[in-house]
């Protein structure tokens, strides 16, 4: 991939105390805005979630929601932080990977703000932002990261200028696997209670382990067969729903934990970071905590408010990029639906 970033001149003219980065996140069902100072302080973070009436995310409907919600969320963040749009130094946005219509909506808002306020724009890789906010909030410096969400299941660690992907799903993402099963079981997505949390609550009351497919290939894993087997059993109705939720979680989480442990043993790093929407799951946290301890590594979990997609992580990663010479001119700010994290250079890590 050719380098699109250009060195930004005149950076040293800004005083640190007066520099604010506004981050816009819109890769999937959440429209989020966050505000970070250049010193790594998160001053505000707000979002509006699109809740489908049925089924999963409809990209066009989600984008429509984002366009309608943008104004209110932006205003909320500025007022929470006690600044006006005139105080903004930098606009960062989620440039990919994600759903096209959703990404384009956020990118449009970002371009307009950047042009209108005459401040630089910086496009941020969404996956890297999940890692960076985790590091900022937990103090982890060089972790093996398990990033698990509705769209991603990635084990990565930094090496030679980039985050490298050590393991990932060969098919569907962990959050997707859990969500589809939850919907099949008739659970409903409500504001403040994502499907994954509803499933977690049911699983906590499960007692009997039903054996399901367990597919680990090298450091990669496959979840689609597990999902098919679990939904088939669900529709047969021979097991209690709680037991199936429990069994699904135990199998899926054991798989991601196993590959994370492999990456940890392989890289011999001394920190583990759990980030992304599924990071809020307590059972997953406890499993990763165990492997970290066994390898004398420190275990870190991103705080709940920064686990799901959020604008603060985009703002902070925007700061890191900009202060290391990266800006994205508007004419090069097209969204990148399939922007893998190992394609991005991260000059802020030595």
């Amino acid at each position: 991939m050719p380098k699109k970033e250009k060195m930004h001149e005149g950076l040293e003219m800004k005083k640190p105390a007066e520099t604010y980065c506004l981050g816009i996140e819109s890769t999937a069902d959440d429209f989020g805005v966050g505000l970070a100072t250049f010193n790594g302080e998160i001053l505000a973070n707000a979002s509006s979630g699109y809740v489908p009436e049925e089924g999963g995310i409809h990209p066009r409907e989600a984008a429509r929601h984002h366009a309608e919600a943008a104004d209110a969320v932006l205003r909320e963040v500025l007022s929470k932080a006690g600044i006006t749009h005139r105080d903004l130094t930098l606009i960062a946005f989620s440039q990919g990977p994600g759903l096209g219509p959703c990404l384009r909506t956020g990118a449009t808002v970002a371009r307009v703000l950047s042009a209108y306020l005459d401040v630089p724009l910086v496009g941020v890789n969404h996956s890297i932002a999940h890692i960076e906010i985790g590091k900022l909030e937990t103090g982890a410096l060089d972790p093996v990261t398990l990033y698990v969400s509705g769209g991603n299941t990635i084990v990565s660690a930094f090496d030679s200028g980039r985050y490298r992907v050590f393991g990932e799903t060969l098919d569907i993402a962990l959050g997707n696997c859990l969500d589809v099963f939850a919907r099949e079981a008739g659970l409903k997505h409500r504001l403040g209670m994502p499907l994954g949390a509803a499933l977690e609550n049911l699983a906590a009351n499960g007692k009997k382990l039903v054996l399901l497919p367990y597919v680990v290939k090298g450091m990669d894993l496959s979840l689609s067969g597990l999902l098919t087997a679990a939904t088939t059993l669900l529709h047969k109705g021979e097991h209690k729903l709680e037991d199936l939720c429990y069994s699904l979680q135990e199998h899926a989480f054991s798989m991601v934990t196993e590959v994370t442990e492999r990456a940890l043993a392989h890289t011999e790093k001394k920190e583990v970071l759990l980030t992304g929407g599924v990071a809020s799951n307590r059972r997953l946290q406890s499993m990763l905590g165990i492997i970290a301890e066994e390898h004398d590594a420190q275990f870190n979990v991103v705080p709940r408010q920064f686990a799901t997609d959020n604008g603060a992580m985009i703002a902070w990663t925007g700061v890191l990029s900009y202060t290391h010479g990266i800006v994205t001119p508007i004419e090069e700010s097209h969204v990148k639906l399939r922007w893998r994290l190992e394609k991005v250079e991260v000059p802020w890590i030595k």
Partner: protein, 219 residues
């Protein structure tokens, strides 16, 4: 378990611990798949038993295909332990960065030949990282750790095996990944030959496109 404590731990991997010890006047390695506390006991036992039973079979099959693997002396299903020959040598992982480009190429061609041999014989390794390849002191390359392997002759399995190897090279040896994988495929081709090789290569490309956020992915 008591006997293990008195032996020398040489590697604490993710999946198993390796202990070096003497057994009937031979240097041997005991590969112990210790219980994993993070997963439920029932699932843990299923996984450990399955892998302990299958690994020696696959290593034996690989030998039949002409691929050096450590000789198995003992399989203890109760404790999920395998006692095998200790192979003196260096992990390919440690070597790749220390040798010349030409040597690296030759080494990778040889590795490709070995992978071709096991595939042709119907064995999938399942975890072709450079940590699982040992260059012995006599110059032979040993493949170890067949715990995630399987007996399979399908294109899909062969493609995934090689795809994972490419990924492992990219994450661990980013500077040489491309040249190394090219050499591996070269060696692989000489063993597999002709039409079969083209089908496997097509499969690798298909598997890559299936990945998440791959630019070449078809709609």
């Amino acid at each position: 378990m008591d006997k293990i404590d008195s032996q020398k731990l040489i590697k604490k991997g993710a999946e198993a611990s390796l202990y070096l010890t003497d057994w009937h006047e031979k240097k041997v390695v005991i590969k112990a798949r210790l219980p994993k506390k993070y997963r439920p006991k029932e699932l843990d036992e299923k996984i450990r038993n399955y892998r302990t039973a299958h690994e020696p079979q696959l290593m034996h099959e690989a030998k039949k295909a002409g691929v050096p693997t450590p000789t198995i002396f003992l399989v203890d299903m109760k404790n999920a332990e395998i006692t095998m020959e200790f192979v003196k040598g260096k992990q390919v992982k440690q070597l790749l960065g220390m040798i010349s480009k030409k040597e690296r190429q030759e080494l990778c061609i040889k590795i490709g030949e070995l992978v071709g041999k096991i595939h042709k014989h119907g064995v999938i390794h399942g975890d072709l990282t450079t940590s699982n390849m040992i260059l012995g002191i006599e110059g032979k390359i040993f493949l170890v750790d067949f715990g995630l392997g399987e007996k399979n002759t399908e294109l899909e399995a062969r493609g995934v095996d090689l795809h994972l190897m490419k990924r492992a090279l990219q994450s661990t040896h980013c500077q040489f990944a491309e040249e190394c994988f090219e050499a591996v495929l070269k060696g692989y081709s000489t063993v597999m030959g002709g039409a079969e090789v083209e089908k496997v290569f097509d499969k690798i490309r298909e598997i890559e496109r299936r990945g998440r956020y791959v630019a070449e992915r078809k709609k």
